[in-house]
């Protein structure tokens, strides 16, 4: 997405179009797959393309896209953030606890601060503590889930959500769910940050070769800490809006099925062409990767397919997509 506007002065436009297409074949392929799926979905079930279902899938996908972009940041800088799901849950809990007690903007800021604080801790442990991001965030993941168990005593909590807050999660603007609009905004901002800003360049440098980045004068440690803070903040934002949607929070740990989110975000960015060892990946890819799963899920549910077969099909399709793009990449 960042390379769409090559200045014609530098490259012949025909060549540049070819370059854009060839540099982003994966994204195009993925978009193609999604369009095909939507067509299949519409064919299999007429309600798939109903306003209600589109709205519902769009809202759902928004909750997957925002944390996936956080994961993308971590992955681009050669890290990984396994704590994203736990931060979402933490943010949900804090939102529910706060929303009846303090004004909405204050609640929002506090929730975001929680997210940023977790990111700061993750980042500092990686940079100062010299720990591998995998280890750090695996640790914070379990600790945060433990914390929300302690705070809630394991029980679900609920709040009488003020209308303004509820609107963020449940409202629509000209038929488009508010969470989707927020996610769209996040996508735009993140594509500027990642692909257009100087920070983005630093991010790719660090992910590609941190030592060379250091020798080129880039403040590697600062970039890494910022990345973790941004990733956690996006997770916190997601949790805040989820809380607005549900008005309640139910603590989860790995044993009750909470392991899905963190790994799903990673799958989404990798399906979207990112490389876990850093330096490669795009916002549009992550967006498409997250969308693919959401769309697939909706189709499989609508088609009334057995839940276990659903997981099997989903796994096989993702595996196929990954193998396809890997083989394409190794050929070029």
């Amino acid at each position: 997405m960042h390379e769409v506007d090559v200045p014609p002065a530098a490259t012949k436009s025909a060549g540049s179009l070819r370059r854009v297409v060839s540099a982003h074949t994966e994204e195009f392929l993925l978009a193609g797959v999604i369009v095909a799926l939507i067509a299949v979905g519409g064919f299999l079930s007429p309600v798939f393309l109903s306003q209600y279902n589109i709205t519902s899938v769009a809202r759902q996908v928004s909750f997957d896209v925002m944390p996936a972009l956080g994961q993308l940041l971590a992955v681009l800088a050669a890290g990984i953030d396994l704590s994203i799901g736990a931060v979402i849950r933490l943010a949900q809990m804090v939102s529910i606890l706060l929303v009846e007690r303090v004004p909405l903007p204050v609640a929002f800021l506090l929730v975001m601060a929680c997210g940023a604080a977790v990111g700061l801790v993750n980042g500092l442990l990686v940079v100062k503590g010299r720990l591998e991001p995998f280890i750090v965030t695996l640790g914070t993941w379990t600790i945060l889930d433990g914390l929300s168990l302690l705070v809630t005593g394991g029980r679900g909590i609920a709040a009488n959500v003020p209308d303004a807050f509820a609107y963020l999660g449940r409202g629509t603007v000209v038929g488009i769910p508010v969470p989707t609009l927020i996610a769209a905004l996040v996508v735009i901002i993140m594509s500027v940050v990642i692909h257009r800003s100087s920070f983005g360049r630093q991010l790719f440098s660090v992910g590609s070769n941190d030592l060379a980045a250091h020798y080129a004068g880039i403040k590697v440690a600062r970039v890494r800490v910022t990345v973790f803070m941004l990733a956690s903040s996006l997770a916190a934002l997601t949790g805040f809006i989820m809380a607005a949607r549900t008005g309640a929070f139910q603590p989860t740990t790995i044993s009750s099925g909470g392991a899905g989110t963190e790994l799903a975000t990673i799958a989404a960015v990798v399906v979207g062409g990112a490389r876990l060892s850093g330096g490669r990946g795009t916002v549009i890819g992550a967006l498409l990767g997250a969308t693919l799963t959401g769309v697939l899920f909706s189709i499989l549910v609508l088609a009334g397919i057995d839940p276990y077969v659903q997981s099997l099909i989903l796994g096989l399709i993702i595996l196929g997509a990954l193998l396809l793009s890997a083989s394409r990449r190794s050929k070029s």
């Binding site: 002065a9 530098a10 100087s198």
Partner: protein
């Protein structure tokens, strides 16, 4: 003696759009030492990687001792009697020396490793080669050049009929080179091993080899008897044009206040013991030193990679003690580091990115990266440095060593600086790339930049520098003016001195 060991028939190899080899045909006589020369990117390594089973050709065929030879991996090549010492370092740092030598061919008792026999075999082999390294030593404790000798030990241990050496001397000092040459001669003359030898050092070709094949741009140019050729002719064949003066003519440096003043820079633990010297504006100051003389420590101090040095550094009169590369760069210092792949480049990103990271600030407005400006700048550098391919979107990992080095230098050309440090600026790069690097250094000097060149090639320092300082044991033991340059003077000042 006159039969053919290897015959290449119209060998072709492509990497994406790059044609590394096109229709290369020639033969190598059994029992000969056959040199392979050519500029960076000529295709030498690609060729030998096909022989070693690392790459498979896209066209053509190879015959080994009259048999079809198409190894699908290194294991297959070794089974057929071809063993290789690659250009890139091939060491396993977390194992012992002995395990490195016999990697994949360890003596066994049943399914188990026979440790004692392994150690003994390795000891015997090292003894026979005259390499004094304990077989039980962890590989990580070896210097890069010692490690290279162990790699040679590995290649030799395979009892190959064909031994390939790709730029084996690039990292070795004089004494170590002698070991390598001796082993090579012994294997070739006593055991009849056929040797393929790649080097950028013409002298080695003439000293060691019987035949030489010249490659240029992936094509076979000539295969000659070494006895029938001389350096100039060979170089002409390699670069395809007449070679002008090797080193640029250097004007006398501007006089005046020195730009860089280093006084008593010391950090005993890191091997600096009170080094002092000055560099003027526009002066190219060479620094020569043997292994462990303190060159790296000096660079680290000046570029803020390490801190905690005693003594004083002044840059244009102001005290200078950078605490990070960022600080050094902001003060107007740049570094072209010795390990370009590890320290200098983002290999899997494109030229545009690599050129712009040297000064991201220049391409930013309102926090946004101005790609258009950066692209223009990158294209300018590509033209100026004659980088191949001339495509700002090419990934750096696909470039040859010389071209990568140009990128490592070029990233700094987007900013103004006062002091430039070049560490081994021409290591492993070919004649014409070298000349281009020298040209850049010269033009920087003409622009008033103070330049430090740290090199282990005496001739290079003599050709390029206004003055050469010699480091030994962490001190500047001599500073020699251009008029007084002699190989002897420089090398003898570098020899370890006795402790006071």
């Amino acid at each position: 003696m006159m039969s053919t060991a290897i015959e290449l028939q119209a060998l072709t190899k492509r990497f994406g759009i790059t044609k590394a080899l096109s229709d290369v045909s020639f033969s190598i006589r059994q029992g000969s030492v056959h040199a392979l020369v050519g500029e960076n990117g000529a295709g030498k390594s690609s060729l030998i990687k096909i022989l070693s089973g690392v790459h498979q050709p896209d066209g053509g065929a190879v015959r080994l001792f009259g048999q079809d030879f198409a190894p699908k991996d290194s294991a297959a090549a070794q089974l057929s009697g071809v063993s290789t010492m690659f250009q890139e370092s091939q060491q396993v740092s977390n194992l012992s020396v002995a395990e490195n030598i016999y990697l994949g061919m360890e003596p066994r008792i049943g399914p188990f490793l026979d440790w004692s026999r392994l150690m003994k075999q390795a000891g015997d082999l090292l003894g026979r080669l005259g390499i004094e390294i304990e077989p039980g030593r962890p590989m990580a404790t070896l210097s890069p050049s010692e490690a290279k000798l162990i790699e040679m030990g590995r290649a030799v241990s395979r009892n190959a009929k064909v031994l390939i050496m790709d730029e084996p001397t690039a990292n070795l000092n004089q004494a170590e080179q002698q070991i390598l040459f001796r082993v090579l001669k012994q294997l070739n003359e006593k055991e009849g091993v056929t040797v393929i030898y790649i080097s950028h050092h013409m002298q080695e070709v003439f000293d060691l080899c019987d035949h030489v094949t010249v490659l240029r741009d992936g094509q076979h140019v000539a295969t000659l008897d070494v006895a029938d050729t001389e350096t100039d002719g060979l170089v002409r064949l390699m670069i395809g044009r007449q070679m002008e003066a090797y080193f640029p003519t250097i004007a006398a440096p501007a006089q005046g206040e020195p730009r860089l003043v280093v006084s008593d820079l010391a950090h005993p633990a890191r091997g600096l013991d009170g080094a002092s010297f000055e560099v003027a504006r526009g002066e190219i100051f060479g620094i020569y030193g043997l292994a462990d003389s303190g060159r790296t420590a000096l660079t680290n101090a000046l570029f803020g990679i390490q801190t905690g040095f005693a003594g004083a550094v002044r840059l244009d009169g102001a005290p200078f003690a950078p605490t990070s590369p960022t600080a050094a760069i902001e003060a107007g210092v740049i570094l072209v580091p010795e390990d370009r792949k590890l320290q200098g480049l983002m290999l899997d990103l494109d030229l545009l990115h690599n050129f712009s990271v040297g000064n991201l600030g220049r391409f930013v407005s309102n926090g946004l990266f101005e790609k258009k400006t950066a692209l223009e700048a990158a294209n300018t550098h590509i033209q100026r440095l004659r980088v191949k391919p001339n495509n700002a979107y090419a990934l750096v990992k696909g470039l040859s060593g010389g071209n990568q080095q140009k990128v490592a230098i070029g990233k700094w050309l987007n900013r103004d600086f006062r002091l430039a440090i070049f560490q081994e600026p021409t290591r492993g790069i070919d004649v014409s790339a070298k000349m281009e690097v020298y040209e850049v250094i010269k033009s920087l000097s003409e622009a008033g930049v103070a330049i430090l060149v740290l090199s282990s090639e005496v001739l290079e320092l003599m050709g390029l520098c206004h003055r050469v300082g010699v480091l030994s044991g962490g001190r500047m033991t001599a500073t020699i003016e251009r008029a007084d340059f002699s190989e002897h003077a420089i090398v003898s000042a570098a020899l370890p001195r006795r402790r006071a």
